[in-house]
């Protein structure tokens, strides 16, 4: 019997975590499909003209870091983003995937620990990642247009047809805020993995190796993600057990 009035009392609630990132350098989150700029890689904005870091990028990056950490702990992890190489198909991927921890009630096959948080072609994601939006109004800043050129290594001169322009945010300490939502089915050790992954993310967007997109997470915003000792222990036992 389902009674709407009683549902919120049953304890199956979504945990929402507010995230705040502060830029340490200019940001270049571009999109080839964007228009309305002279740049080859214009910066992404929402419909109100505000700067943003898309949720898809943050989620993809979090997944990547979680894969690295879990694999480092010896857990068998599939190879995203190719659907054929992801759980539950995993064509030709070696590893001990047939284990009890990889079973998900109601879903066939086995699903590695990263897929259990981020989803795969058959398992819905148990983590929702919102866009990180800079609340500064578009009138409050000006984007920077940065020219770049590729060098001909032999002649040490500019290469033909390799002049490009990247649009970036101004190099000021802009704050980007958004939220992570852990759905009721999200495993409890998911918090531990996500928290560790966030500590590995020092930059987002393009040209990271050239100094763009470096940021720091507000320590206060990470407090709600503090996992329990049991979560750390479960994650830390690794895939060798």
């Amino acid at each position: 019997m389902i009674r709407l009035a009683e549902l919120p009392l049953q304890g199956r609630t979504t945990a929402s975590v507010s995230l705040t990132a502060t830029l340490s350098s200019a940001l270049s989150v571009g999109s080839g499909g964007s228009s309305g700029s002279l740049a080859d890689k214009p910066i992404v904005k929402d419909a109100f003209g505000r700067l943003l870091i898309p949720g898809s990028q943050l989620k993809g990056r979090l997944r990547h870091e979680c894969e690295k950490l879990a694999r480092g702990l010896g857990w068998a992890i599939c190879q995203s983003p190719d659907p054929n190489l992801m759980c539950p198909k995993r064509e030709g991927i070696p590893g001990r995937f047939e284990r009890e921890e990889y079973r998900v009630a109601g879903y066939e096959g086995s699903h590695c620990w990263v897929c259990q948080i981020f989803g795969n072609p058959t398992l819905p994601s148990r983590l929702w990642v919102d866009d990180l939006v800079c609340d500064l109004s578009p009138e409050g800043y000006e984007e920077a247009l940065r020219p770049g050129v590729t060098l001909n290594r032999r002649r040490q001169t500019a290469e033909d047809q390799r002049l490009y322009f990247i649009e970036t945010s101004p190099a000021t300490a802009l704050k980007f805020t958004g939220s992570l939502h852990l759905l009721p089915d999200c495993p409890s050790w998911g918090k531990a993995l996500i928290l560790a992954a966030l500590h590995h993310i020092h930059a987002l967007g393009g040209s990271k190796s050239a100094g763009l997109g470096w940021l720091t997470w507000d320590p206060q915003s990470l407090v709600p993600l503090q996992p329990t000792e049991q979560d750390w222990a479960q994650l830390g036992q690794g895939g060798w057990v």
Partner: protein
């Protein structure tokens, strides 16, 4: 019948797909289908109720979604009080639109009653631009909403979001995982004014007053957990939903029917300068306009015309005098995804929104209660998902060529 008024304000782009053609782009809808709102609320209730997975799906859930007469979730159209323009509405081919939206526009007018007169009298009807210039006109589609004493179009902007998968080993774009999503914008630019958040308006109709109250409270308390459309785990589909019960007001249908018939008689008199004939004095008329796509089946076969027999079956009224005078309809195809099945829905033929059917009867008074119900429940199949919503005798039919709006 109880009514819950839903106001949805987009907080992020909405990827509500219309179809997935052969290309890499998923097209976005122009509105939020009722099936999407219904599915999101049902999905949220189920996810919260899974504390006891073996519990039967009874109680409020069954009353809302699986009962013989479930709640009706209408489509949510952009703007406020938006409606679908009837298929009989025409506007200039060169410069279409409402008069208020531009200096040189000659406006939009409706031709249902004129077409009826010309059809009955056997006179060709070839309307031109309302300014008398003889310019060509053609059907004008879309959503419209009141703006003072006039109207304006209601629509949402769209944009393409390009996404790419990253090859984990090389940290570069992965092969064959570049795609673009078309989404509805979360903001609407306005002339010389700040950008306004995109809003949509829809309704939920229920028979049970107590359940309506419970559902309203549930939506208000859990609105922040609802996501609509695709890619919801990646930042898209965030909406702010406000639900409030709509106070029941006496239906304006009797008044609309009277006005419609009076105008039709007046118009008929005006057409008498071309030919002389009399309308049957005992007949009265009503127009049924589709406000959403309708899935109509006649004798197990798909159809795009609402026949008198189907209308009698839908309403349970036997009326031998009911006659379909005119039909203006087109078709489209619709599919979708059912989260409970984990499968796509079968492709259905739908009669396009805006289609108009003009009926006549000698027993109009008997039809008034049934037509009032029809405006809330809808016609055809899958009405609980918002299909088959109708408006009887739309006031837009009274905007003739000489008073285009």
């Amino acid at each position: 019948m109880e009514t819950i008024q839903l106001t949805l304000t987009a907080e992020s782009p909405l990827a509500i797909g219309r179809q997935k053609p052969g290309g890499a782009i998923s097209e976005a809808q122009d509105y939020i289908p009722g099936s999407v709102i219904r599915g999101a609320i049902a999905g949220l209730i189920l996810s919260q109720a899974q504390a006891n997975p073996h519990a039967p799906l009874e109680g409020d859930f069954a009353a809302l979604f699986t009962a013989a007469q479930p709640a009706v979730f209408t489509n949510a159209y952009p703007g406020s009080q938006s409606k679908v323009l009837p298929a009989t509405a025409l506007s200039s081919k060169n410069d279409p639109g409402f008069k208020d939206s531009g200096k040189d526009k000659t406006g939009i007018f409706d031709t249902l009653i004129d077409r009826f007169c010309s059809h009955k009298l056997g006179i060709p009807f070839d309307p031109t631009e309302p300014d008398g210039s003889g310019g060509r006109v053609e059907p004008y589609r879309g959503f419209y909403q009141p703006k003072g004493s006039q109207y304006e179009m209601a629509s949402t902007g769209k944009r393409l979001l390009t996404r790419v998968g990253i090859n984990r080993r090389r940290a570069t774009a992965a092969d064959q995982i570049l795609y673009s999503l078309e989404v509805m914008n979360e903001g609407q630019p306005r002339k010389e004014q700040p950008i306004r958040a995109t809003t949509f308006n829809g309704k939920i109709y229920l028979r049970d007053a107590k359940l309506a109250e419970t559902l309203t409270r549930y939506i208000q308390a859990n609105a922040h957990l609802l996501r609509l459309g695709g890619s919801v785990s990646r930042g898209l589909g965030r909406v702010r939903i406000e639900a409030k019960p709509q106070s029941s007001t006496p239906s304006s249908l009797p008044q609309r029917l009277t006005t419609f018939n009076k105008k039709l008689q007046e118009r008929w008199q005006a057409w008498q300068i071309f030919a002389s004939a009399k309308l049957p004095s005992d007949r009265q008329y009503f127009a049924i306009g589709l406000q959403s796509g309708a899935i109509l089946r006649d004798n197990w076969q798909r159809t795009t015309v609402l026949s008198p027999a189907m209308l009698q079956e839908e309403t349970g009224i036997e009326d031998g005098s009911l006659c379909l005078e005119l039909a203006f309809s087109s078709y489209d195809y619709v599919s979708g995804w059912n989260a409970a099945w984990g499968l796509f829905k079968d492709v259905d033929l739908v009669t396009s929104p805006g289609s108009v059917f003009l009926f006549s009867t000698t027993q109009l008074d008997r039809w008034i209660p049934a037509l009032t119900d029809l405006e809330q429940i809808g016609v055809g199949e899958r009405t609980s998902e918002g299909f088959g919503q109708v408006e009887v005798c739309s006031e837009f039919h009274l905007h003739f060529w000489e008073n285009a709006v």
